[in-house]
Symmetry: C2
Subunit: 505 residues, 2 copies
């Protein structure tokens, strides 16, 4: 069966560029429609031959789609808490909620598959394990979930070539472990177990999709197209309206600007920033390449040493928080970071102290948690909109300092970014969003109206920085009018902080 994935198919750089751009637009569109509908869970599994691009495919999809609304996860050895519960507990607990997409590696197939490949369980025992997995998938599919399973394949020779190539490159050497060569040595058993897995568990509701893994561009397009295809079909079958061009309704544009004149004598730490700072295109490209490579290596060290990072983004609407986050995560393994977009609390969160919902997302050692907006909402939006009482937001400064102190005491590298743009820059970005077919869905009437309160927010941000810019958790103010400059500064800052911590810790 695997001959179909050993055809040596490749794709030219040019074709890849063309096709990947439109594929990305389609995926973003479908992801957004899925999220708006909140209708079903999407579970995407990656399994297959070592070196065939399981992790790389997850990383690629995360870079194409909106990473804030993706969950990427790879199960390692069970923790003691997991071992004390039925095996599937950990799979249940990592399911994405409806409307979100989960990308998974080393999931429910992994343990029984390896046991079978090594001959530690009989075919009958393996079949029984597969039946249990099918039962799980069936339950979720019946409930409306979309399940897609990618089997990333390489021929025996191709795997050898691939592992050798990875090993010879100092940048990727670490990816090849002894166990990968062990698996290669039992390639035939490995593939026999794979064939049984696929033939027995490829169902209409949860199909396996064989992907030829040798050429990176080819496999990325294969994986992306298959996901887009199944996602579109699934949403359509659910009765969710989809237009073929990924169009969204025209965005509102007000007749006059809501921004009031700047209050006399208002001077803040933000108004003193030099937002004219720029970074030229070629400089940006060069710097980004270096910074991202640095971040990648530093994060690998941090994972090994168990040094966690918490990164906070705050700033006005359209300041470029999302774009900066995308550049941070691009060089990272999606399985070791999580982006937590902060919106209205759920009812379980409302039943607790407001800091509880930030505590709950604390990651295990060595991981990165990125908050797209954060606990600072208490002294920004909640203060201005009156969601928190005067007492509540006033005491929040001390609570937050205390909270952050605890993270730092635990050895977490905490970095807080305020990205600053001018009101004019925001106006231009809103106007550009309004006419962009890909972005206009982001823009609402309310965004325009919020400009009315620009200076209230500026004052609140000023107070926030004055009270929470501490030695252990300083604010990094980022001049944001020029996106390349801002992004480079953000990543460079993270590299510096992480490097300092790793050197000193």
């Amino acid at each position: 069966m695997f001959q179909v994935a050993e055809l040596g198919r490749k794709i030219t750089k040019r074709e890849y560029k063309e096709r990947s751009e439109s594929l990305r637009q389609e995926l973003l569109y479908l992801q957004r429609r899925l999220q708006e509908s909140g209708d079903c869970q999407v579970i995407v599994d990656f399994a297959g031959v070592d070196g065939a691009g399981k992790g790389a495919s997850i990383q690629k999809l995360a870079s194409w789609m909106d990473p804030r609304f993706l969950i990427a996860y790879a199960w390692g050895p069970a923790s003691d808490e997991e071992r004390e519960r039925p095996e599937f507990w950990r799979f249940w607990m990592q399911l994405p909620p409806r409307g979100r997409i989960g990308l998974f590696a080393r999931g429910r197939y992994s343990r029984p598959f390896l046991q079978r490949a090594y001959g530690n369980i009989s075919e009958a025992e393996y079949d029984a394990e597969l039946d249990r997995i099918l039962g799980f998938e069936n339950d979720l599919a019946e409930d409306g979930a979309l399940i897609i399973k990618f089997w990333m394949h390489l021929s025996r020779d191709a795997q050898e070539r691939r592992l050798t190539a990875l090993q010879n490159d100092p940048l990727t050497k670490w990816q090849v472990k002894d166990i990968d060569w062990e698996h290669w040595r039992i390639y035939d058993q490995f593939v026999a177990a794979a064939e049984r897995t696929i033939t027995r568990t490829s169902t209409g509701k949860a199909p396996w999709i064989l992907v030829e893994g040798e050429d990176e561009n080819f496999r990325s397009l294969e994986v992306g197209s298959a996901l887009a295809h199944h996602l579109r079909e699934h949403l359509a079958a659910k009765g969710i309206a989809l237009d073929s061009e990924g169009e969204s309704p025209p965005a509102p544009q007000p007749e006059e600007d809501y921004l009031p004149p700047r209050p006399d004598g208002l001077v803040t730490v933000l108004s003193r920033m030099d937002t004219s700072k720029r970074l030229g295109k070629s400089d940006y490209k060069k710097k980004m390449k270096k910074y991202q490579a640095d971040l990648h290596l530093l994060q690998r060290k941090a994972l090994k040493k168990g040094v966690s990072s918490v990164i906070v983004f705050e700033g006005m609407d359209a300041a470029g928080k999302g774009g900066a986050i995308r550049r941070i995560v691009a060089p990272l393994d999606p399985r070791i970071y999580r982006i937590v977009p902060i919106a209205a609390p759920t009812d379980e969160e409302r039943a607790q102290h407001y800091l509880w919902r930030f505590w709950r997302h604390m990651s295990r050692a060595g991981r990165i948690t990125i908050y797209d907006r954060s606990w600072y909402g208490r002294v920004l939006v909640e203060r201005i909109e009156g969601f928190a009482s005067r007492d509540e937001w006033k005491r929040a400064y001390a609570e937050i300092n205390d909270f952050e102190q605890r993270l730092v005491d635990h050895g977490i590298v905490l970095t807080k970014f305020w990205i600053q743009i001018t009101p004019d820059e925001q106006f231009e970005r809103f106007a550009a969003r309004a006419v962009s077919p890909l972005k206009r869905w982001k823009l609402t009437e309310e965004d325009w109206r919020n400009r009315q309160k620009w200076y209230d927010y500026e004052r609140a941000a000023h107070d926030m920085i004055a009270r929470t810019d501490t030695f252990h958790a300083p604010w990094v103010l980022v001049e944001g009018n020029d996106k390349p400059f801002a992004r480079a500064k953000v990543i460079n800052t993270l590299c510096t902080r992480l490097a300092n911590r790793l050197d000193n810790g």
Copy 2:
């Protein structure tokens, strides 16, 4: 400072009986008002000298109040997942939601306190630790939480007497560990550290209450009265209406019964049950005493062996599920069981497959999880009220069987009780509730109206039993018209099943 808790105060059995009854009514009333208001979290901590009744006090409070809406927790050594996060993460994650009470032992004071008692940290370091704890308590208190901290005290001689007595009784011998004697040997350091703890961290918002621990009756009343006192004050300060007699508004009683005539020819497994079974008072007392003692011992073995239990209760309204649960948990350490009352799902639960919210409560090894109503709601209330589509509840039987199979495969002892009462018995119980000042708040118009659908429920329960009474997870049908009979059967069944599992596993 501890002389006030070394006065040798005792209380007669008779006085205890009188005072505890009215105290219990007051606690139940306050617990209910707290829950109805959903206004604040209540955190009750127990610390103190070993043998002074920390665990016993939690158990007593759990037996006095409604255990379904209590959370009891004792932190053991940190799990690997806990160690990889800031120390306070695990304290945050166990906080009761607003409207509930949490009873805690070996909490945030435990580690630094022992370090100080053993002289492993300096006084200054200990003070810094205490400041951190105070910060945590202060955050919660500012948010409206009620925090009460009990210091259970014994004099040095009393502790020696107590530990010796516990050790000499074969039933309680296990409670005394080497470490307890070690602590006794450093009694003076222990008490010095305690004094510093109490003087530095007893605040208006989170006071320490010193309790003389030698006489069980005395200390139970002390703890219960203090809790009631503070709870009442706190609720009153929040503006929550309280009446001094624990009165509730008159309960509704319909002019005519909604129960329809029994449909012709309806024969179910339930209608065949002999609901006339009775158990006399003295027999009940004798049997209960034995069964509860057995259950206590069996559960200790199960905890040691890591054998978990899942217990499910289903049955018509007023069938006696809550009463049976209270009898099960009475002899158990509240820190090793959790009661999960199933009501409407939260929004986070609604965003997942319906089984997810049952998976999430799976306990760690050796613990007991009791579901007061369960996943069977899918084929009972959701079927009858149309909350689940025909497709959904029809396929639920297989999903449930599969789910239960997984629990059993993991070695969990799963026991499912259907408590059966007759319509007449339910009528009488409703009528009795309507006039009981302590119980009439439980009764709503809807309870009466639901009698209309009695036979729909009976049919659904019949189908449920037919399809989910499996070899690995059999239903236990309990004749419920006589409460003593039902309760004895429930506990006896649990003992038998647990004993079988422990013998064979």
